[in-house]
Amino acid sequence: MSVESVQQAAPMRRQATVDIRMATLRAIYMIWRRDLIRFWRDRTRVVGALVQPLLFLVILGTGLSSALRGAGGGSFRAGLDYTTFIYPGIIGMAVLFSSIFSGMSIIWDREFGFLKEVLVAPIDRSAVAIGKTLGGATQACIQGLVLLVLAPFVGVKLTPLAVLELIVLIFCLAFSLSAVGVAIAARMRSMMGFQFVLNFLVQPAFFLSGALFPVTGLPGWMTALTRVDPLSYGVDPIRRIVLGASGVPGPVLDRLSMNFGGQVVPIPLEVAILLAFGLVLMLIALFNFRRQD
């Protein structure tokens, strides 16, 4: 009885109610912006994140270039330098690590309490999944683009069109991988599982992606694994554009490229697979956050 009467009295005190849909869009923007502010403020991390790719590129690249020349092996006979070959793979690696970790920074937000501020706000919680995925993607994209600057040093001459294509590709890759990070973090309560994720997901994904060796002519079991690794569909198109721009002949390129049963996979299809994967993962993350009521 009295409860009903309170409800009738309520309109008197009603204030401007928050439009949840608009509030959610604003929240996505704010979560994204916060990630960038933090990224910008933590410049040592940006520099630090470049060290690993550079080690791979300079030491592993130079070392294996010499070794392969000596052995006179495979595709690398045809004037293809190993450092040039792994350069796109190293971009993929930088994007992979940065994306996954940015996505997983949700766990930090949970541990240090900030996530609560977002979860109790009058917004749809899908904003967390979307905002974090976009924030992680932007950060990883910047990391990847910084590596593009190194192209001349590994003997890659890029055309403006190639650069444009690469930016789009790197963003797609960063988006999909950030979604993976967010989806993992949505179910994790502490940093305890972090090492697990690193060893059982991130590193295998890197090694199987074709970043360090071509994904063609491999044993059957490994070929299968490389085809289910989403990173493969990011590294391969980046490599085809980079090597194409630096004048590697078409037949050599085709021999190195991702194929389904001997048929070279068109780049648009690879991008579609990559984005579809990212979207599915983001939806999983989204439902995980929504369910946390």
């Binding site: 900030f114 009058p122 917004i123």
Partner: protein, 336 residues
């Protein structure tokens, strides 16, 4: 509670609120009404159901039964509307310490749709209220615990909520900082006419509340003003320090027909209204008196009488309580 008092401006109202986790009944039928503009305190030992109740009111936990209205809105029917009308200050910090104070507030203003035209003035206003305007551009990681709590209070009221929920707002702060936080809270109520709903286990702080509910085993066992609650345990205690306790006791017996208890160096007298009794007592006593102390029953005594436990015993549980809160949070928001 009559219906009239409810219509006079209830901001929080619950009827038969129940929450069970499996077989555990955390909240067992809570009825309470918090009036607009009052400071309402929620006291109870750990695991009494305080945190669960506050979580239900803040739409973080769904009740198993009963009804709860906050700012006139049913918490289960329209949690979004409830969230936009309440402010929250958690037990553990929820600021981004890599952002500046101002950035934290901007983030909040954006989430809660404080109109663009008012945003800056409002942020400046709340920063000034908690005396942090000079540190607006500093990253929160450089702040002390007390400053962080003040910033959280400022953030909690940024979007003009009707009621501010505070879960142990002064937990872990030193006494001086605690007093300052209370000064801000009272100032806040005066300026904004906001209702404060808080849990605390510092008894001296509970005194600052207009009304207090004591909760134990998921039920409210006492509700009233601090004075009303204290009246439940009996009168004031006056101790008179004197060398000649026997003679003094005789005089008291003759003049007031009271039976004082004689102690080693004095008397102990229980009266309903100690403040007005002391002057009369002084007029009647001829024996030299070295000191008189008047002590009123404290909420500690009330708590002890009602629950059979001293709230101080719970001190060791502060960390547990935080942990409980957190595990409840993750259970509520967890992997189900």
């Amino acid at each position: 509670m009559t219906q009239n008092s409810v219509e006079a401006g209830a901001v929080v109202e619950t009827r038969g609120l129940v929450k069970t986790y499996g077989k555990v009944e955390a909240v067992r039928g809570i009825d309470l009404t918090v009036r607009s503009g009052e400071v309402f305190g929620f006291l109870g030992p750990n695991g009494a159901g305080k945190s669960t109740t506050i979580s239900i009111l803040c739409t973080l936990v769904k009740p198993t039964g009963g009804q709860a209205l906050v700012a006139g809105v049913d918490v289960t029917r329209d949690p979004g509307a409830v969230r936009s009308r309440i402010g929250l200050v958690f037990q553990d910090p929820s600021l981004d310490d890599q952002l500046t104070a101002r950035e934290n507030l901007e983030f909040h203003a954006f989430l809660y749709n404080v109109p663009r035209s008012e945003r800056k003035a409002r942020i400046d206003g709340v920063l000034e209220m908690v005396e942090l305007h000079e540190r607006a551009g500093s990253q929160v990681r450089t702040f002390s615990g007390g400053m962080k709590r003040r910033l959280e209070i400022a953030r909690g009221i940024l979007h003009f909520p009707q009621v501010l929920f505070l879960d142990e707002p002064t937990l872990g702060l030193d006494p001086q900082t605690r007093r300052r936080i209370w000064a801000y809270l009272h100032d806040l109520r005066k300026r904004e006419g906001i209702t404060l709903f808080m849990t605390t286990h510092y008894m001296d702080e509970a005194e600052f509340c207009d009304r207090i509910a004591i909760i134990d085993h998921g039920q409210i066992i006492a509700l009233g003003t601090p004075d009303e609650l204290k009246a439940m345990v009996g009168g004031d205690v006056i101790t008179v320090a004197t060398r000649d306790a026997e003679a003094a006791a005789d005089e008291v017996r003759r003049a007031f027909e009271l039976e004082p208890a004689t102690e080693r160096d004095g008397l102990r007298i229980e009266v309903p209204d100690g403040a007005s009794f002391v002057p009369r007592l002084m007029r009647e006593l001829t024996v030299p008196v070295s000191a008189v102390t008047l002590s009123r029953p404290s909420l500690d005594d009330v708590f002890l009488k009602l629950t059979g436990k001293a709230i101080r015993d719970e001190g060791a549980g502060e960390m547990d309580q935080m942990r409980n809160m957190m595990s409840m949070w993750s259970r509520a928001g967890g992997r189900r």
